[in-house]
Assembly symmetry: C2
Homo-oligomer: 490 residues x 2
């Protein structure tokens, strides 16, 4: 729709794509008004704004499949979209207005709860928080938990292999999926909704769609694994002198508490300062100032005070071994919530502090300290005054490494340094065997960096997989991999 | 090598395949003597005996890759082989003698141990037990545990996504792999040896090789995830009146002990009788006879008697609720070992009892009881006198459903019924949403059954993946999928 003859194109699009799709989903499944389409065009962080002639909201898997068939036959590119809370531009159409958005919002039924099997079968458009609540209602935990949980949809969580604050204990989204239903790029429906813990009958096809960001097919439903609901939690904020001491404390905690460790979040002092500066009610519970902190949370099936005793025992041993300097254990749910305010206030505080360079990276846990030392030094050398700002999931080796511009510096000048900062950070990450995207994915944000950090063999393997499952490149083109766009002539 | 001109073929094979491979691996990497090759031709259960002109044992990943390049160029089909302990014929060459066996036995180094990252990097030919021991030496657990652990190689465990007796707690092999090194079908080496807990930078390519039975590439090394070594275990044998009561007890145990539950093995009374009949030292520790038993084991990081108290608490509550009838908790390591003798003696006892029909199936845990009822009734109707014989990993919904011929019946007659029995069992499994191979894989054993139980769409997806990564079908052809064989003319 971006040719020299827009009205002719528009008529052709209506005849070839819009009308057949309307015949499938009806008027209630179609949005073409630019104002109404707007929320589907813009991303959560406002950094991507796309254009599209059409947002489709199918009412069933069968409708969605029929819509994909129309797109496949006409070589119309598709952008699958869930709650639109992604951080890499994977969910927005490109600016050229050539892509149809297929939203899963109306696929929002919980199809089945199997309490003895600890599984729930949900449609892709179910809001994450609703699934958490449905699990809690039957005395189970659905452990995926992240900032956007009130808005994001499970289909998007699956497409991005979402992480969050409990991965250490429960794994990524990939570990929580027992089965999938997927509409393939040719519009066929694959029903892989098996609720099995073990299934080695041939290739495990669901694995290729998890984390593929809608580029290989559209997830329309899933069987999710539930866990027992913990009966006790214990939370502490601990001060440490360095990330490497935090790793020692983590090892001690693993040895003493194993999988009871749900959260082990490393927090740099500056993060607390900036959260407190901009966000109300962020506490600073320790009397003295320390360079680093860890928010630890344990959870267990065993009710009563035993878990708190175990946490206290870990901290006492950690103090004695010199791995930590001070700490406070929450004595109530309210105190625990207050400690969590620190962690939760960081992203908001940072947003208000000026230009920051966000990096969602991971390295082996053994190399987190070295990564921070090397990167902080390299950036300070190149950009004097830049403020190191790091927090994240130490237990997963996943650091949100988000340095902030010098205090009071020129914003436009700092903004122009984004590419140079990225290159320094990501070069060191990959040199240490790490990943340039630990949990957010590639989308458009990292698409041009990826070939710099993956081997040619691996890039080629990804292209082989893409070509096999989406030979005409109509499924979310220009995300993850830059390949020739589909041409509408076929 | 099975043409009408065998000696001419042999000369051509030597010039095109054998000599170039010998130039790569040297004499010590080549076996051509039929007697020496024999152990590589026969399977663990003796049900597959193949033929091959050549067994290659490369000494490094680079050598293995160069060997695969020779095979790729000459379209010579390859059978990758690890410890040769598989149960489905995936590791044996076909009878026509056209395939070269590539053994990973000499790739047996532990390349790196990263204690702070809880990972170990191993080559594919490492024996599973050696990896378990290396982990234990540094105070860690490598949790994969199965009968063949003294012989099987980790590359084979990965290629078959091995299960075993601790899946309930630690997951399948897939959950224990952080990174892979793979030689692709064209002989390129993919180095994906990243030791990361989180990595969403593009498609997770390792997933396609795990469980692919050597049909998409050859795993040459892996980064494995380690766990803390448990400091306490508690073991019990419990009597229940039905599998459905066992499921209730499992739910109770999950609610009270969560992930401390490592093992929850359902055992039918007849299994104990037959183990005791044929295997020495199998105990029968409860005074009365009961129809079903469960072997439960908990493990925990917390040392001391707390875990045993927790197990006793679960059993007391289970008794009170009527979910179990009797039980005994092991008071020592020796008593725990003795309880495990029951479970371990079952396969051996069964082997000596006559014709048995082995099924490695899984269904949702909620449907295990219904599966057993329906299948036992259907088989008894069709084959009067057949003896139901079931045991397995109830916590995973994975039942080894292995009915035995009527006591004293005609062996040949019973043997002829294999296909009919399989069809009855597997039809019911799939009707209940289950899998015809929970942990052993497909190989040759189930290759012709698979299309009966998978949808045409799923079979086609598997073929698409295979065609993308092994377009000439030289990687373990005739395993999992029946596709046109490579022709040597290319």
């Amino acid at each position: 729709l971006s040719s020299s003859n827009p009205s002719g194109d528009r008529t052709a699009f209506a005849a070839r794509v819009l009308d057949p799709i309307r015949a499938i989903v009806g008027d209630r499944g179609i949005i073409t008004d630019p104002g109404e389409m707007r929320p589907y065009m813009e991303s959560w962080r406002d950094n991507w704004v796309g254009r599209s002639p059409l947002v489709v909201q199918p009412g069933s898997t069968e409708e969605l499949a029929a819509v994909v068939r129309v797109c496949a036959e006409t070589r119309t590119p598709i952008v699958p979209q869930g709650g639109n809370t992604g951080l890499t531009g994977a969910g927005q159409p490109h600016e050229d207005g050539s892509e149809v958005v297929i939203s899963t919002s109306r696929l929002n039924r919980i199809r089945e709860i199997d309490i003895d099997n600890d599984t729930v079968t949900v449609e892709a458009g179910c809001i994450l928080a609703n699934i958490q609540n449905a699990a809690r209602d039957i005395g189970r935990l659905f452990p995926l938990s992240l900032g956007a949980e009130g808005t994001c949809q499970i289909g998007g969580n699956i497409a991005t292999n979402a992480g969050g604050v409990q991965v250490l204990r429960y794994g990524n989204m990939r570990n929580l999926v027992a089965g999938l239903e997927v509409v393939l790029a040719d519009g066929r429906i694959w029903n892989g909704l098996r609720g099995l813990r073990k299934d080695n009958a041939g290739y495990d096809m669901k694995q290729i769609f998890i984390g593929s960001e809608g580029t290989l097919g559209i997830v329309t439903a899933a069987v999710l694994k539930l866990s027992p609901l913990p009966r006790a939690t214990a939370t502490a904020l601990v001060a440490v002198s360095s990330p490497s001491d935090a790793v020692d404390l983590l090892n001690r905690a693993k040895g003493m508490a194993g999988d009871r460790i749900v959260t082990f979040e490393l927090i740099q002092r500056l993060c607390i300062d900036i959260a407190r500066k901009h966000v109300p009610d962020v506490p600073d519970p320790l009397r003295d100032l320390y360079p680093w902190y860890v928010l630890v949370e344990l959870a267990d099936q065993e009710a009563g005070g035993h878990l708190a005793e175990l946490l206290e025992g870990i901290l006492e041993a950690g103090l004695e071994a010199g791995e930590m300097l001070d700490g406070v254990v929450a004595a109530s749910k309210a105190q625990a919530d207050s400690l969590w305010r620190i962690r939760e206030g960081i992203p908001e505080g940072q947003k208000r502090e000026g230009v920051s360079y966000k990096h969602d990276v991971s390295v082996p846990i053994s190399k987190v300290a070295r990564f921070l030392d090397r990167t902080n030094a390299a950036l300070e050398r190149e950009f004097p005054g830049i403020r190191p700002f790091s927090f994240g999931h130490l237990g997963d080796g996943n650091i949100h490494y988000n340095p902030i511009q010098a205090d009071g510096g020129d914003t436009a000048q700092w903004r122009a340094r984004l590419g140079a900062v990225n290159a320094i950070v990501h070069d060191i990450v990959v040199d240490l065997g790490g990943s340039i995207s630990a949990e957010h994915g590639i989308g458009r944000l990292r698409i041009d960096e990826l070939p710099r950090y993956k081997s040619a063999v691996e890039m080629d393997m990804m292209a082989m997989l893409k070509a096999a499952f989406d030979p005409h490149n109509i499924m979310n083109p220009g995300k993850i991999l830059r390949l020739p766009r589909a041409s509408a002539g076929a």
